[in-house]
């Protein structure tokens, strides 16, 4: 005690006291209130990852490898992020039925809770884009005209001017965007599923993506107006020309044949 008291006027004494006080406060803080909460969070998260790992082992591991490292049948999932899982499984593309040029969208077989668990597991394999929140992808208040311009610059080459989809090489195709959930459109742009290139936030900002979703919402929903009438798939001059040649010209020929086939004579011979 005497020793301590003798050094109480030492130039470093104040620093030592301060350090001790800080350490005590910090120690008490971690020991009490916040410690419980942090504990709970981690366990919920790790629980989801554990559940996801079980689902993954059953539904995905045969192609993507037991640790998500990928095999010859499926790409590595390290770093694809939760958004990719939410898109692929949420649209029914994964799990794939069979290998082929392209894995089509089909019936979704996992519940959203299971998809979230899978996503948590895959996200834990390596950092990647996370699932967007509703305010990120909601078309509310976005600039539709700007969205149209962005869509024509970035997307229309494959997905057609109003998102009707189109053909690519060797059996691959760009699917139609009609009635696709805005969340899935957002995730597709962010992650670039299958052969689609990605459009990360660094080159196509969050606002840009919202504008594109708003544009699609206007031109490509069930009740979007088509001033010209029959759209014929919205594929442009090819389908329109085909319709004109077959039904327009065909109708004229049919009428001409019908007129000539009926005789005007009083006595039918």
């Amino acid at each position: 005690m005497k020793k301590l008291s003798a050094r109480r006027r030492h130039p470093l004494a104040a620093v030592v006291v301060l350090l001790l006080a800080l350490a005590a406060t910090g120690g008490l803080y971690t020991a009490f209130a916040p410690a419980d909460k942090a504990q709970a969070d981690t366990s919920a998260q790790s629980l989801a990852i554990d559940e996801g790992k079980k689902l993954y082992a059953v539904g995905c591991a045969s192609c993507h490898g037991t640790g998500g490292e990928g095999t010859t049948d499926g790409p590595s999932l390290v770093g694809v992020g939760a958004a990719a899982v939410d898109f692929q499984v949420g649209t029914g593309r994964m799990p794939a039925q069979q290998p082929g040029a392209q894995i089509p969208a089909k019936k979704v077989i996992y519940s959203q809770a299971e998809i979230d668990q899978l996503a948590a597991f895959v996200a834990a394999l390596g950092a990647g884009p996370s699932v967007p929140t509703e305010e990120q992808y909601s078309p509310e208040g976005a600039d539709i005209a700007e969205g149209g311009e962005l869509f024509r610059t970035n997307c229309a080459q494959c997905h057609n001017f109003t998102g009707k989809g189109g053909a690519l090489t060797n059996g691959k195709y760009a699917p139609t965007l009609e009635d696709v959930d805005p969340k899935h459109i957002y995730e597709a742009m962010q992650t670039g599923p299958q052969n689609m290139p990605s459009f990360p936030d660094t080159t196509l900002t969050e606002k840009n993506k919202q504008d594109i979703i708003a544009y699609l919402d206007v031109v490509n929903s069930d009740d979007s107006a088509s001033p010209g009438g029959l759209e014929l798939g919205g594929l442009g001059p090819v389908s329109e020309g085909l319709f004109g040649w077959i039904f327009g010209l065909g109708g004229l020929i049919a009428v001409a044949v019908w007129v000539a086939a009926r005789t005007a004579k009083a006595k039918k011979s």
């Binding site: 962005l150 610059t153 970035n154 080459q157 494959c158 189109g166 690519l168 090489t169 691959k172 760009a174 670039g192 299958q194 052969n195 689609m196 290139p197 990605s198 459009f199 990360p200 660094t202 080159t203 196509l204 900002t205 840009n208 009740d223 979007s224 107006a225 088509s226 001033p227 010209g228 009438g229 029959l230 759209e231 007129v259 005007a264 004579k265 009083a266 006595k267 039918k268 011979s269």
Partner: protein
């Protein structure tokens, strides 16, 4: 209209029993004798004035309907606002004005045609007429006269005798078309070397077309697709379309190990490659990029380029690889062009070499 509502006395007399069906023994000397025209058969309208009146009324009705449809067209044009959208069953949500104009104009034209056809078939004369062929050759006297006149004319003009006149006339006639050919030279102006150069030059930054911000290497991730234009080009510039048509750029990032072509690797920056977006076949904008195969497909004629191998043509009619832009990074960390394209972008042309 059947013959049942025609009075019995108005029907033509029954035809001879052997006219149809019965096979007559052919004439031995002329087995293919001309059978001549079958007897003319009348229409109901020819023999029954009431039927003719009905046809007349039908034709007049069609023409009147056409008039009403035209009036309807004008009324629709005046009355219906041009951006009104209506729902019509099989067609969906369509413009009411378009629908009304199309229907009324279609009806007006159709009724004129249908009325004319009905008129011709039921009321205009349908009696068959025979018009015999005539020999085409002229009579020998006429031929002789024409030839004699020609000879006389040639002699009187002195064309054979006065050779100076003849030769200078031939000369004049030969030279006259030259003026027309020389005028073709005025088509132009010639493109000079505009086809060989674009706005890209050393030090020009690559500007993202979505955000109008210059790109940094970190912005472009593997598997992404970005479109860029040269810095300084603004969308409202009067020559924007002309310039972007040559300078449009597509930027992708590959794993450097995936790049097979040595020059492509040398002209890239950390795997970021910049290629012309204009197809070398007939100049369609081409950006159907498949990020796993690195193929780019042209939607017009299916030319396919392999971006991992110097944008080599692997399918389709395109004649040469897409031109690559040499890129690097400037002092501030932005992507910049290191030169213009080394070869002309877009389709081949005569002097391209």
């Amino acid at each position: 209209m059947s013959s049942q509502d025609t009075p019995e006395e108005n029907l033509p007399a029954e035809r001879a029993a052997d006219e149809h069906g019965a096979v007559r023994v052919a004439d031995e000397k002329d087995p293919f004798a001309d059978p001549g025209l079958p007897p003319h058969e009348h229409r109901i309208q020819d023999i029954d004035e009431r039927a003719a009146k009905r046809s007349e009324r039908a034709v007049a009705f069609l023409f009147t309907l056409s008039m009403l449809a035209t009036i309807g067209f004008i009324a629709a044009f005046v009355a219906i606002p041009k951006d009104e959208i209506v729902y019509i069953f099989p067609l969906g949500h369509i413009s009411g004005l378009n629908f009304a104009l199309g229907m009324t104009l279609g009806l007006a034209l159709f009724c004129i045609g249908a009325g004319a056809v009905h008129w011709a078939r039921t009321l205009m004369s349908d009696v068959e007429i025979t018009d015999e062929r005539h020999p085409i050759a002229a009579e020998p006297e006429v031929k002789a006269k024409v030839l004699a006149d020609f000879k006389e004319g040639a002699q009187e003009s002195g064309l054979g005798r006065r050779k100076l006149i003849r030769n200078t006339m031939f000369g004049a006639l030969t030279l006259v078309p030259l003026s027309g050919i020389v005028l073709l030279r005025d088509l132009g102006p010639l493109p000079e070397d505009k086809l060989r150069h674009t706005l890209w030059s050393k030090g020009k930054l690559l500007v993202n077309m979505n955000t109008n911000e210059p790109l940094r290497p970190a912005d472009v991730v593997v598997g992404s697709l970005t479109f860029a234009m040269p810095e300084g080009l603004e969308e409202h510039d009067h020559d924007f379309q002309n310039e972007i048509a040559k300078a449009a750029l597509m930027i992708v990032r590959l794993q450097p190990d995936d790049i097979k072509d040595k020059q492509e690797l040398a002209w890239s920056y950390e795997g970021i490659v910049a290629y012309s977006k204009i197809c070398t076949h007939v100049g369609c904008p081409i950006s159907l990029y498949e990020q796993q195969t690195h193929h780019v497909l042209c939607p017009c004629h299916q030319s396919t380029f392999d971006l991992s191998d110097g944008a080599r043509v692997i399918f389709g009619p395109a004649g040469h690889a897409l031109p690559q832009l040499r890129i690097g990074v400037n002092d501030e960390g932005y992507l910049e062009a290191l030169s213009d394209f080394e070869e002309p972008v877009g389709p081949a042309f005569w002097e391209r070499g």
